[in-house]
């Protein structure tokens, strides 16, 4: 792959993601102030010293934004990757095996989906101990139901193709059929879904933080920052909009990259071209 084959929009997306990653990794070095350090007055206006101003407790918003990238990115990415691995694995097993396994998996999935995600998450998180791993797992499992739906639908399309039958006739096991025959042919729609799901899990995390069940203060995360500063909006203070815009920008960047990946994989020779 040559660098000039990468489209401009993909570059924009990649630069955005790289920026967020750099912030996340080198937060203590980049951030001008500490994560929880009170440096001035409540909701102090932006000036040369405080680029985005100060928040509801007088902490530097820019610094918290940089630290927040850490938790937000890590939790959202981990949750999405786990939900995808889980959803794809289960859905492909269901599609390839069919019969009882398919029915049991699919009906259980329906059962999970019939409970509103947010309420489910609230109940589970309220009962379970407050821990980052628990939070990630709950988000991943709830999200994997959506991935399962899509995965099963696309895998069924491919599972009836003759080359899969040919692999079965050769005596190949389920693992080979799932990872070598079906997965490469379903990558395009799944990648598109990955971009969407990642954006959604940032939003979901923000929602949970907003409701007080996500990342616990004083740890900074973007959704939590919106919550902390939401009251300022009434007084015309834009502090809440800064982390909000960061969430939007990251979601857009991820999708730009995914769109480009999608185009690339589906224009592969003989791929299931749909872009």
């Amino acid at each position: 792959m040559r660098l000039r084959d990468i489209s401009i929009t993909a570059w924009i997306g990649m630069i955005g993601i790289a920026l967020a990653l750099i912030c996340a990794v080198f937060a203590p070095l980049i951030a001008p102030y500490g994560e929880t350090e009170v440096v001035g007055g409540v909701w102090q206006e932006a000036d040369a010293q405080f680029f985005f101003g100060l928040d509801n407790l007088g902490r530097d918003i820019l610094s918290r934004l940089i630290y927040g990238a850490r938790t937000t990115l890590f939790v959202a990415l981990a949750a999405t990757v786990i939900s995808f691995s889980l959803g794809i694995l289960l859905s492909f097993i269901a599609a390839v095996s069919g019969g009882v396994i398919d029915t049991v998996f699919s009906r259980f999935n329906d059962l999970m989906m019939s409970i509103p995600t947010l309420i489910f998450a609230l109940v589970v998180l309220a009962v379970l101990p407050q821990h980052l791993v628990v939070l990630i797992l709950v988000m991943a499992i709830l999200d994997s139901t959506r991935v399962y739906r899509l995965g099963r639908a696309v895998a069924l399309d491919v599972a009836v193709m003759e080359f899969v039958e040919a692999a079965r006739l050769r005596g190949e096991g389920t693992t080979w059929i799932i990872f070598r025959e079906i997965l490469p042919n379903t990558l395009s729609p799944l990648l598109a879904e990955f971009g969407l799901r990642f954006a959604f899990s940032i939003l979901f995390l923000s929602t949970l933080s907003f409701l007080g069940l996500g990342i616990q203060p004083p740890t900074a995360d973007w959704g939590g920052m919106v919550k902390e500063n939401k009251d300022g909006i009434i007084f015309g203070i834009s502090a809440a909009l800064v982390p909000g815009s960061a969430i939007a920008a990251l979601a857009v960047c991820v999708n730009l990259v995914v769109d480009w990946l999608l185009k690339r994989t589906s224009s592969l020779k003989g791929g299931r071209g749909d872009a």
Partner: protein
């Protein structure tokens, strides 16, 4: 061709181009049709014949001034009754399409809207163009249904597309094209997707309707025997250029070009049947099979095949011939009966079958496109059975893949290509190589040539026969083409509606006395002979009069 001034359609120096987008390369212009000219008079039929990619459909559509899939008419003239229709604007061309020139597509099943009744779809164009009122159009449709020999013409129009058979649908589409009294009809392979026994009815109906309504027609097909029955003139096309253009008689009886001669003489290979057919390798004993919903697809089939020989299974679609192959492979375990392979009974279900048995029986599919993973290269496709059955790795595997590519007469340069970068014939060769890689003793060939052009198919058949010679392979060859059966089989099984109607050595199975079905099947195969259709229809008429 009589050179008259009253040409209905004149095509002069037609040039059609398209832009192709090869992956990883800049887009380039390709010429699809170049310098094609012909004339067509009222009431006459011109057959356009050629392999896929010859540009025959593209030329046919140019009579409607239409370019499909980005094709653009960039040069020449298409003159319909004195007007150059290429020069007409969008409004002008709308008055031509569907009114003065109509089109009959290859797949009627895909061309009809499943949500509307046939009658409404048949008259739609005529009414929309304001050529007739709804009442008149219905009357005309009824008349056409009669002419085309459709059952219950009064109520035929009330049915939905899924309620009639493929052959009837194709005739309904012909009625749709004939309804507005067009000056010209373009038939684009109207019988290619049909069984031979159905094809003959549709051909007869189309021929009768053309004569009855005195319409001119362009008839596009890849089957020279079919076009010989229906057209007055033939144009042979290759790579978008005219190879030969003349009357049917001249093309069939005295072709001047090598390519035409090859088309006319295709399938002249014949195999002497093996004399000893007593030691079976595969024995199918009174096998019945049914789908999980209880629908019975095979009824007590018994047949056998000897080592190094070919058993041809013939029958129309739905006769159970592919199902029989699925039963042998274990994809559909039989509900009754047993299958013996090399003296030992075969485990009925695929998942319980030992790997060694799986290796010894291989299957080649009809559509090589879907039978190969589009994301794997030729190296992976052929290499996998080598790794799977023989545990070959690295250099040993590559060497063996190259050896197999040699055997299928393809160069090593193909090793890193994806299936989409291969032609139809090459794909089928790779599929054969994949089967060979398992070192099989029996190969089940499920219509491996029916999706291919005649000359390419001939190449595949020759390859299969060469491999049989060299490696003592046995084939079960499923086909609906009697000519192939004559060419390659040692023994023949004829199937009809899930039952075996005839089985024996080729010389016995294909010679009289016939049962009714085999007789019908053999007589329906178009022969490359002018007047064959009339002769068969006359015989039929006499037979039914005699009864």
């Amino acid at each position: 061709m009589p050179e008259t001034s009253s040409n209905l359609l004149t095509v002069r120096n037609l040039k059609i181009e398209a832009t192709s987008y090869p992956p990883g390369e800049p887009p380039k212009r390709i010429t699809i049709v170049d310098g094609v000219s012909f004339d067509l008079q009222k009431g006459r039929v011109l057959g356009l014949i050629g392999e896929s990619g010859a540009g025959k459909s593209t030329i046919g559509l140019s009579a409607l001034a239409y370019g499909r899939g980005g094709a653009e008419i960039t040069g020449g003239e298409v003159i319909l009754n004195g007007t150059n229709i290429l020069a007409l604007g969008k409004g002008g061309i709308r008055k031509v399409r569907g009114a003065r020139v109509c089109y009959v597509a290859q797949s009627a099943a895909a061309a009809f809207n499943p949500a509307h009744r046939l009658g409404d779809q048949v008259i739609e164009a005529s009414v929309k163009h304001g050529l007739m009122t709804k009442e008149e159009a219905r009357k005309r449709a009824l008349y056409l249904f009669r002419v085309l020999g459709l059952p219950n013409p009064e109520t035929f129009g009330d049915r939905f597309p899924h309620q009639v058979s493929g052959g009837q649908l194709q005739r309904a589409m012909t009625a749709m094209a004939l309804c507005p009294n067009p000056e010209l009809i373009v038939f684009d392979e109207p019988t290619t997707a049909l069984d031979v026994t159905t094809q003959i009815d549709v051909l007869a109906a189309i021929k009768h309707a053309i004569e009855e309504t005195d319409t001119a027609a362009l008839y596009i097909t890849h089957d020279l025997a079919v076009v010989a029955q229906i057209s007055d003139d033939i144009m042979v096309l290759r790579h978008g250029r005219t190879v030969e253009y003349g009357s049917v008689k001249q093309i069939i009886e005295a072709p001047t070009q090598d390519y035409t001669r090859a088309l006319v003489n295709v399938r002249q290979t014949a195999r002497q049947e093996a004399s000893d057919q007593s030691k079976p390798l595969l024995k199918v004993d009174n096998v019945s099979a049914q789908y999980s919903n209880g629908f019975k697809v095979l009824h007590g089939v018994s047949l056998h095949l000897c080592k190094g020989q070919t058993l041809a299974i013939v029958g129309e679609s739905g006769s159970g011939k592919s199902t029989l192959a699925r039963v042998v492979t274990g994809l559909l375990p039989p509900s009754e009966g047993r299958i013996t392979f090399d003296g030992k009974p075969l485990t009925p279900a695929l998942k319980n079958r030992p790997r060694e048995d799986l290796r010894r029986i291989q299957l080649i599919y009809q559509m090589a496109d879907t039978a190969m993973n589009p994301r794997q290269t030729v190296r992976d496709i052929i290499g996998r059975p080598l790794a799977f059955y023989d545990g070959l790795r690295g250099a040993a595997k590559t060497a063996r893949v190259k050896e197999l590519l040699d055997q299928i007469e393809m160069g090593n340069g193909f090793i890193d290509r994806y299936p989409a970068e291969l032609s139809g014939g090459q794909k089928q060769r790779v599929a054969i190589a994949r089967a060979l890689a398992a070192r099989p003793e029996l190969i089940l060939c499920d219509e491996p040539t029916s999706a291919l052009d005649p000359l390419v198919a001939e190449g595949i058949l020759k390859l299969l026969m060469k491999l049989q010679e060299e490696q003592q392979l046995s084939y079960v060859f499923i086909t609906h083409d009697i000519a192939i059966v004559r060419a390659i089989a040692d023994s023949v099984a004829v199937m009809h509606r899930g039952r075996l109607v005839r089985f024996g050595p080729k010389s016995q199975a294909l010679s009289p006395p016939f049962d009714d079905y085999t007789d019908l099947l053999l007589k329906s195969v178009p022969e490359m002979e002018i007047g064959w259709l009339e002769r068969v229809l006359n015989t039929r008429r006499m037979e039914s009069a005699g009864n």
